[in-house]
Amino acid sequence: MSAEAPVQAPVHAVPFLPMIRTLGLVSLICGFAVTLAYQWTKPFVEENQRITTERAVRAVLPQAAVQKAFVLGADGVAPATGDSPAEDTVFVGYDDAGRIVGIAARGAARGYADLVHLMYAYDPACQCINAVRVTKMNETPGLGDTVLKDPDFKRNFEALDARVNAEGTALANRIVTVKHGTKREAWQIDAISGSTVTSKAMGRALDQSAQRLVPRMQRHLAELARGGR
């Protein structure tokens, strides 16, 4: 028996260089196509997003002649830009004389299938939420989506109490969704029977957003009013 083991040649040599070269070429073509598409479509996508937001604000503030977006930070008010955080952005509606007619803001909470996104209008005069519009949801047709059509449910949002507490730090009363037929207070939302999860999601979305933004709206109301002039 020989001391040296026979050297076995590989049956199929893997063409390493052509593989790298081909994948590099494919990646180059693909990278170019994706970058080109991104740059080309970016202005159109931004314009679509602006129109969608504007429509949602107009739906909850139909009486506003002019709408302006501001960021309500913990320390002050600034005009909103494209990079402003959505959860701190509010849309102030002004009439022809430059007076505030309402302030719109976004909210979102998990429903049955996915997040329920909504836009609501806050009226500083009555310290209440007086309009709500669902902007995006994927709830079950025939069950969850009844929140969009049910007239009794819509009446919850004609003057939903959102007063600020004495310290001006949060809502005086949490906005809560209660079992159908048990609504007693102005800050409660009467759920729809058979659509309880979605009704509760809307209540949570409003409460979370209003707890954060309404105290800031009240605190900076004078600055927001000056924005209309």
Binding site: T22, V26, W40
Partner: protein, 219 residues
């Protein structure tokens, strides 16, 4: 699905077989995920169909162009990168055209990457055929897929919402069958179309046999 090893001549069949004889939804039962998920309205169905046609056509044309350059060891990786890139392009394009459609289709736009119709055509056809043949075959397959989605979308929207492309087509007294908009409705309607296609195929085969003078038993 045809597995052609040699370049085939361009004929009408190159286009038509994807539409009818090898229809991806009704015959080969591929791409079932978007077929059942996004066909709850005719608009969604046609949008998904057109997005798939774009990705199928562009990626398969590039696969065909590069078929003699791509080593077989890395072909699937290369095809997937090409398909994923065109899906990203179509994703941006749909956002630019309509945010409503983009949100309605949701994750199923990105999931076109794993649609086996596209990878199947790339592997079984585009990697072996000329660019012209690939264009014709991809368009045929894409049209077949779009028509199939539309068949489902039209039935589900009309019965489930009483509308077609968002316009009311059923009388006011009509009570929508909400079930048709739910996943179960997708299965019911697909089963109905499959039954129809199977019956048509069986009838065609029987007539062909009868024309040849063969007696068909059990019919």
């Amino acid at each position: 699905m045809s597995l052609v090893n040699k370049e085939e001549p361009l004929t009408l069949d190159t286009f038509v077989r994807g539409v009818w004889r090898e229809n991806p939804v009704f015959v080969t039962l591929l791409g079932m995920c978007p077929t059942l998920a996004v066909t709850n309205s005719a608009t969604n169905a046609i949008s998904m169909g057109l997005a798939t046609v774009f990705v199928l056509l562009c990626s398969n044309v590039l696969v065909s162009m590069l078929r003699k350059v791509i080593p077989k060891q890395v072909r699937i990786a290369a095809y997937i990168v090409l398909i994923a890139s065109f899906v990203t392009v179509v994703d941006y394009a749909i956002q630019a055209i309509s945010l409503e459609v983009y949100e309605a289709l949701g994750a199923f736009i990105q999931l076109i990457v794993v649609n086996c119709i596209i990878l199947g055509r790339a592997e079984a056809y585009a990697s072996r055929q000329t660019v012209l043949n690939t264009v014709v075959n991809s368009v045929g397959t894409g049209v077949g897929f779009t028509l199939a989605l539309l068949c489902l979308g039209v039935v589900r929207e009309v019965l489930g919402a009483g509308t077609l492309f968002g316009m009311r087509v059923m009388p006011d007294q009509f009570q929508p069958w909400v079930l048709m908009l739910l996943p179960a409705g997708g299965f019911f309607v697909l089963a109905g179309w499959l039954l129809l296609f199977d019956w048509l195929n069986q009838r065609r085969e029987r007539r062909a046999l009868e024309a040849q003078g063969v007696t068909v038993h059990g019919q």
